[in-house]
Amino acid sequence: MTQLQARGVVRAYGPTPALRGVTLDVTEGEIVAVTGPSGCGKSTLLHCLAGILRPDAGEVSWRGHRIDHLSEAARSRLRRTEFGVLFQFGQLVAELTAAENVALPLLLAGTGRREARTAALTWLERFGVAELADLRPGEMSGGQQQRCATARALVTEPRVLFADEPTGALDTLTGEQVLTQLVRLAREQRTAVVLVTHEPRIAAYADREIVLRDGLVDHTGLGLDVPLAGGSR
């Protein structure tokens, strides 16, 4: 069942067009890789899908409802309940501990402090970093920070996780460990993942791959829009 839908999405930064009419469907629980060379509009597409950016033209719908028309507050609410967002680095609040960072989305949603901390600890445990709960980001390695950030993105059990080069700042081995855990947990709770990357070996974690080129989806057969036997479950 299609949950997230983009129709002819256009977005420009000043005179520079980033997206020139992208159409894309994301169904429940699937993992979609968005790849393409630098500057092809990958990140902009992710921002538009997640309701961070408003498209200049075209539609973005979530479960049949337009979200590009919603107010900033309503889209914020959507992002912290139905969606999870994960960046390359630097999204943890430097002054809060790992547990507080992970608990933050729950606290924003009105969960009590004790309950939110318990949930945060569970998620840190799932990513194997429970012992970091009371450390601040400055006291952790890059891989540990990214595990905490991933835990924070998944703690609300979102329906879609938007990940923009989530392993971009990590070495190959650490990146693969983080991504393997992310994909496993997303599949367990049937969270769809939109994974922006430029690396073939990262895109290989997805069920299917969309290739963007100059702000458009490449239909020359490059994007393997058909789920392959090995990738999907």
């Binding site: 073939p200 070996r201 290989a204 020359t220 057969g221 990738g231």
Partner: protein
């Protein structure tokens, strides 16, 4: 071809018959093409002529194939030299993948080459996903992971080359057909 050096290496441990040498070779290099008996004797003959090995005691009663060979001082020096020589890294660019694109450009047009590249990319990507799934399986052993990693690294390199070549194939065609 390094068969002479492999035989010299096998003889470094002590003198052996031709038959024993063939068996030791196949055991140590299981994935290599098996050596034929004829090739073993031909190689040993050349090595003896060049003075690198010498017949060390013959069991005439048992026939010519029961001749044992041993490493000479010159043979040991040759082996040492071979082992300490660095191999030139990829001196020739040779791969069916690469050659096929070149031939496609020679005999057909850009589209033919592009079609092949896209199909090859799809196959590579499918294999990459397959191996990634093997690797990401919680039940995977370290042997599986290390073996999958070796293949994944090479597929990843091929895919990068395929991507780059797809972007260059039109210019390349112009160069081939000025």
């Amino acid at each position: 071809m390094s068969t002479p050096h492999v035989l010299l290496g096998l003889l470094a441990a002590g003198s052996r018959h031709g038959y024993e040498l063939k068996r030791a070779h196949d055991e140590r290099l299981p994935r290599a093409r098996p050596l034929a008996f004829g090739q073993v004797y031909a190689t040993l003959g050349r090595l003896e002529r060049d003075g690198l090995v010498a017949a060390a005691g013959q069991d005439r009663a048992a026939g010519p194939d029961r001749t044992a060979y041993a490493l000479t001082g010159e043979g040991r020096a040759t082996l040492d030299q071979w082992l300490s020589t660095v191999e030139p890294p990829m001196p020739y660019v040779a791969s069916t993948l690469f050659t096929k694109v070149v031939v496609a450009l020679l005999v057909a047009d850009v589209d033919r080459a592009r079609t092949y590249l896209i199909a090859q990319r799809a196959a590579h990507t499918a294999r990459l996903r397959e191996l990634t799934t093997v690797k990401a399986d919680p039940a995977a052993t370290l042997s599986d992971v290390v073996a999958a990693d070796f293949a994944i690294a090479h597929l990843d390199a091929d895919l990068r080359w395929l991507h780059a070549t797809l972007d260059r194939v039109a210019d390349w065609h112009r160069e081939v057909h000025p």
